[in-house]
Amino acid sequence: MRLAKLTLHHFRNVGFAALECRGRQQFLVGANGQGKTNLLEAAGFLTALRSFRNADNKLLVTHTQHTAAMTCVLEHERRGETHVTIKVRHESKELWCDQARVTKLADYLGQFPTVVFSSQDLQLVRGSPAGRRRWLDLTLAAMDAGYLRALQTYSRALAERNALLKAGRAVDAELAAFEQTLAPAAAQLIAGREAGLRTLGALLTAAYAKLCDDAEPASLGYEPNFAEADAESLLVRLEAGRARDLQFRTTLAGPHRDDFHFTVRRTAAKDFASEGQQRSLVLALRLAQAAWFQERSGVRPVLLCDDVLGELDPARRRRFWSAIDPESQVIATGTSLPDAELGAWQVFEVADGAVTEKVNA
């Protein structure tokens, strides 16, 4: 996929911007706080109608306005030229695809893939399990409509079961009614995560080897909260957990407590890896995500690099660049232009929310 044109209205501090992208390398240059990342955030919004900074809708709309709007013209491997319009209001979002309104998450999630490389990604190694689960769920759901359905069913059935537990009037018969739906959805999530992490892990091992000369193998490991993975045993586990769940007024165990970890040389990266290794791990994870997406769907994600090139030392930067699929479009931000060896960029200057193309950069 290639983003050929991006137009924004009232998106954060950007009153109006129109970027016509030529070729496969765009660089947004400017001092910090001028709005470079806001433009990347808008491009990334396309994938799952959410901000990669996890920002609330309200923050995305310029504060004197009701609606932020973005229009993208895409060159898409499967759909050809596609026009997508997104409107964000405080309480709602709207997506239009070639003049048709799209209302179901399943109908657009994964259609327009972007992969974001950001310094915040370090949290995927160091941060809480919730952040890793969110990343994993979004990645798998974008790839597999069955996984998305299981995730939606699981979340809903879990919320209903928790409402029973919270009300403190939970009766076995009612708990059982929701567990019957919860258990098969849980089994599907566990199977999907297990298979997904195995594939992503293999791709990450390959990407990490390209990023780091020293041959230290890196991998991903799944930490399921339930060791059992079939619906029958999960049903038994849920039933056995009722007394404790009632005491704590919530469902204590299940895939909503799953986690995964990164390893380098077979040891947990969270505690033992150096900062440099951790940075390489998250870059490798994003490269793995992009490669997997392309393999599965035949659509090449647009790579959005938020300040990443500037944070790497020249040697790592060179290796990162050579690990990227040369056919991918890369839209990058930075406070200064990258070295000439990374190729010729189309450069846009960003200052106080205004974007101007810099000719003869």
Binding site: R149, R156, A163, A173, A177
Partner: protein
């Protein structure tokens, strides 16, 4: 605006589907634009409130003890189609494919919304099952988490008809996921009823 006007508007706004603007429009229409129609509307409301109630057997709308369907001798009482709401029943009737009787639950299990078994029209269904007249139960509930849970609950916690096992079938697998009976067209409903699967 006047205090009485605002009071009326407040009540209208509580009706399903009405927001501030639409309730204001209706109040203006009734009081100022077409006041001549108002007495007839008030009478109709009062009459309906007096006359319409739930059928004691199935929960459908009725003006006597039994609704028109339960009172109809030609309907097969041994087959009972369980639906969430009255409009679901109307949709199935319109498909013309069904000659059995109904049972309206007036909801589905949803602890989030405070709906448990006691909030559903289950006692009357239990009584029908215990009487032994029911041979087949068709569950026509929505194809979502709450619909599923309600189906599980019904199959586990309804008494079997005295002597013979009740056949339980489920429709809804051909219905749009997450949607209810109400949103399916007649052809879909007809094929869903004909292709119902045994459920346990």
């Amino acid at each position: 605006m006047t205090p009485a006007f605002e009071k009326l508007q407040k009540h209208l706004k509580q009706l399903p589907g009405l927001g501030y603007r639409s309730s204001e429009r209706i109040a203006l229409h009734l009081l100022v634009e077409k006041p001549a129609q108002l007495p007839a509307l008030v009478t109709a409301l009062e009459e309906a409130a007096r006359a319409v109630r739930r059928c004691t057997r199935c929960g459908n709308l009725a003006e006597t003890e039994l609704c028109a369907i339960c009172a109809d001798e030609r309907r097969d009482r041994s087959v009972v189609c369980v639906v969430e709401h009255v409009p679901d029943l109307v949709a199935i009737e319109r498909s013309g494919a069904y000659r059995g009787s109904y049972h309206v639950l007036h909801g589905k299990l949803s602890p989030i919304h405070g709906v448990g078994p006691d909030e559903l029209n289950l006692a009357a269904l239990r009584a029908r099952m215990e009487s032994g007249e029911v041979g087949e139960l068709i569950l026509a509930l929505s194809n979502d988490v709450e619909g599923e849970a309600t189906c599980h609950y019904l199959t586990e916690h309804l008494p079997a008809s005295a002597g013979s096992a009740v056949k339980v079938t489920r429709i809804g697998f051909g219905l749009p996921s997450g949607g209810g009976v109400l949103y399916a067209d007649s052809v879909t409903l007809k094929s869903a009823l004909e292709g119902r699967r045994s459920y346990s």
